[in-house]
Amino acid sequence: MSTTIKVKKKPLGLRLKKDFSNFGGAYLMGIPVLVFYVLFHYKPLFGALIAFKDYKPRRGIWGSPWVGFKHFQSFFDSFYFGRLIGNTLTISLAGLLFAFPIAIIFALLINEIQNNKFKRSVQTISYMPHFISTVVICSMIRLFVDSNGFIVAILEAVGFNIGQSLLNLPNAFVPIYVLSDIWQQTGWNCIIYLAALGGIDPELYEAARIDGANRWKQTLHVTLPGILETVVLLLILRVGSLMGVGHEKIILLYNDYTMETADVISSYVYRRGLINGDYSFSAAVGLFNSAINFALVVIANKISNKVTGSGIF
């Protein structure tokens, strides 16, 4: 016979008080983060209202007239709507397909390095490009892929007939964008995986070795499952920004030749919304993107829960 003893939970206030006395430091450290999110992520949510208004700065959000879905309609009616969505998704998916796994592979490789000094040097050198500003990075890219640049020289040396800047070629834009991203961000992106790798219990490796697992088998059966949750978490978050290719690097690299593959939603919004001061239009497109991104996160999370058993909610 089993008896279930129901433990009455203490009131929330009491529990919080106890928790706070135990982990006061952690709570304190969390306050700036909380303030940041409230101020910069929750408070502005109200401002998304301007997507449905003809926002005029001096009239304020409430004083500006309601226009319903006018700005959404205007975006959907744009001559380039289909192309913008297509380009945005292409660049995002290419990043997801290539840049995302490379950071994991790179972290695994670094993790295998035994010499600590060498390991640290590789890490430092690899995340240095992350700190170079986008403007400078794009200037460097333009010089590298120029008809006299070293990349074109290498490609020509191995038999390609190019004779011009790679930025003249619409088909080269996505590779340039993604590869330069890999160069700039892989070192930085792998830090979080390295942290996850550091958290794997060494005894698991020991047990695997006793069972006769070689390095490859250890990676497959200990390391990868050990960082799977981190990978899934980052993958879901990445899927949640599929519609959000930033405009800075795009507008610094594209030109009239490559518009057909390079012009994305954010660069279009930059030209129309920011340069023309049409904030309501920008807000409408932003809201549209967020709605799609949100849906993607929910779907990705559901799939992940089903397949791997873990998700973010």
Binding site: D54, K56, P57, R58, R59, S74, S78, F79, Y80, S139, R142, L143, D146, S147, G163, Q164, S165, L167, N168, N255, D256, Y257, M259, E260, D263, Y268, R271, R272, L274, I275, N276, G277, D278, Y279
Partner: protein, 520 residues
């Protein structure tokens, strides 16, 4: 006796405005004026990061006796965002009159600016008012509702060639080497570039920046031989045209395609770093350059002995007339209008401040800076920059020091008298004169880049897509991806589909409204 009385009275009436409406400087006000404006990045070349610290700014505000608090923004986006988010506006927004789509009237509708009446100007900015109160300037300052909003920024003296600061330069020594003169027609232009190429010059023609082939077409430097005024907005007898939609544009594109195909312009012109283009014109990899006059200040240090530049005009029409168009600022430049906001408590003081730049004392500070330091007055009574500006001991550029010690980037009058001082190279003065010989004022739409407020939204929506399509198509026609004969009709039809005819209607209505307001 009666006659004498009326004569005395008339003299009194005439003398009255002058006598009663002069502002005494220094004003010595204890109030502080706040101004938001764009940061002029060039002051960094003079060793400063904010205008507040520059000697020119200090000299101005001290001599005017008015305290000023400046906030400078890196670009128009940042300035617009700050204005949009402000609960209290500064006293003055000093900005381009087209900061917001729809121009000044959008600012009026959004309650960002107050009206300035002739009475206010007479009383508080008499020197400014005396200069601009005539047809030449008023048609660009007065808005469609008949009112004035904001003080004009950069105004040009009548007949000044200072407005024409962009065009072609050739390496004179290389022209001599290939036995050619400065080209003035399309054939000569082509021949010179071919001769450069044959002489081993890698890229005969380069552009200042990657967007400048398009700019040169918009400025009409090579369109006149083909019967086209320019590739952008112009009018013929009050009728609006957009060059890239006109039949003659096709032949202009054909000409550029020929230059591109034969390697007379860089294959990378669309993505070339400005610094690469500029290095090539100095090291002899290029023979001709399209860009700003002030670039010569930068280039001259890189030239070897015997190497020199000569300016070239926009190409002539088929019947030998001067180019129909060229780059030129309007008589009242669109930039640096001083808009007094509704939150300003002392509009009179703001008017006093800017008026100072139009007084004799203010003009000297504005153009030359601080006497004895950045300029001296010669025996001939003409002010001239000292070596601090022309040959700065810290290696700062002439442009950078002139913008820091003087106020040449602030509102005021631009006249030919500044040309020699600002441009020690005779070539540069010659360039202004040559470029100023175009017929641009016959075809220019005044005020340009404007749209009636009622069309602002519709125009912005249509034009974002149309301008992109025109830009992409131009690039593809030039590199041969689109065929000028097979794809031209489709190009025009697509523009029609995108609403180009509607753009013409809206623009024509705008031109008509301005002409009606100006009493044309």
């Amino acid at each position: 006796m009666k006659k004498l009385m009326s004569l005395v009275l008339a003299i009194l009436v005439l003398a009255l405005p002058v006598a009663s409406f002069a502002v005494e400087y220094p004003v010595n006000s204890d109030k502080t004026i706040t101004i938001w404006k764009l940061l002029d990045g060039s002051i960094a070349e003079g060793g400063y990061t904010t205008s507040m610290d520059t000697p020119g700014f200090k000299a101005w505000t001290e001599a005017a006796g008015i305290k000023v608090e400046l906030q400078e923004f890196n670009d128009n986006d940042a300035l617009r965002l700050a204005i949009s988010a402000a609960s209290t506006l500064p006293d003055v927004i000093q900005a381009d009159k087209n900061l917001f789509t729809g121009g000044i009237m959008t600012m009026v509708a959004d309650d960002l600016v107050i009206e300035i009446t002739p009475e206010m100007l007479e009383a508080n900015a008499p020197d400014y008012w005396a200069f601009v109160n005539n047809d030449t300037y008023m048609k660009e300052i007065v808005q469609l509702d008949g009112n004035m909003y904001g003080l004009a920024g950069h105004v040009f003296e009548p007949g000044s060639v200072f407005r024409y600061w962009r065009g072609f330069f050739y390496r004179g020594d290389l022209l001599a080497k290939v036995g050619k003169e400065v080209p003035t027609t399309a054939e000569e232009f082509y021949d010179v570039l071919v001769a450069f190429k044959n002489a081993g010059i890698k890229t005969p023609l380069v552009f200042q920046g990657s967007g400048d082939l398009a700019e040169s077409m918009k400025n009409g430097d090579v369109t006149s031989p083909f019967g086209l005024v320019n590739a952008a907005e112009y009018h013929i007898d009050g009728v609006f045209h957009y060059g890239a939609y006109e039949a003659e544009y096709k032949e202009v594109l054909r000409f550029w395609k020929k230059l591109f195909t034969e390697g007379l312009i860089s294959v990378d012109y669309m993505s070339m770093e400005g610094s690469v283009a500029q290095a090539s014109i100095c090291n002899g990899d290029a023979g001709a350059f399209y860009g700003n006059n002030s670039r010569l200040n930068t280039f001259k240090g890189a030239l070897k002995e015997g190497e020199f530049f000569v300016p070239g005009p926009g190409l002539k029409t088929a019947d030998g007339q001067n180019a129909m168009f060229s780059f030129a600022d309007p008589m009242v430049s669109s930039s640096d209008f001083a808009f007094i906001t509704p939150d300003c408590e002392n509009p009179e003081l703001v008017l006093n401040l800017y008026n100072f730049l139009f007084t004799e004392q203010g003009k000297l500070i504005r153009d030359f800076g601080v006497e004895g330091e950045s300029y001296v007055i010669g025996d001939d009574g003409i002010p001239a920059y000292t070596e601090l500006v022309t040959n700065n001991p810290n290696g700062y550029s002439l442009d950078g020091t002139a913008r820091s010690w003087a106020l040449i980037n602030w509102p005021g009058i631009h006249g030919d008298y500044q040309l020699a001082a600002r441009h020690p190279e005779k070539t540069q003065v010659a360039a202004y004169e040559l470029w100023g010989s175009s017929q641009a004022d016959t075809y220019r739409i005044v005020p340009g880049n404007t749209i009636l407020e009622e069309y602002a939204d519709e125009y912005a929506t249509l034009w974002t897509d149309i301008s992109l399509y025109i830009n992409e198509s131009r690039a593809k026609f030039i590199n041969g991806e689109l065929d000028l004969d097979a794809d031209w009709d489709n190009y025009i039809q697509t523009l029609n589909k995108m609403g180009m005819e509607r753009v013409y209607e809206m623009k024509q209505a705008t031109v008509d409204a301005y002409n009606a307001a100006a009493g044309k």
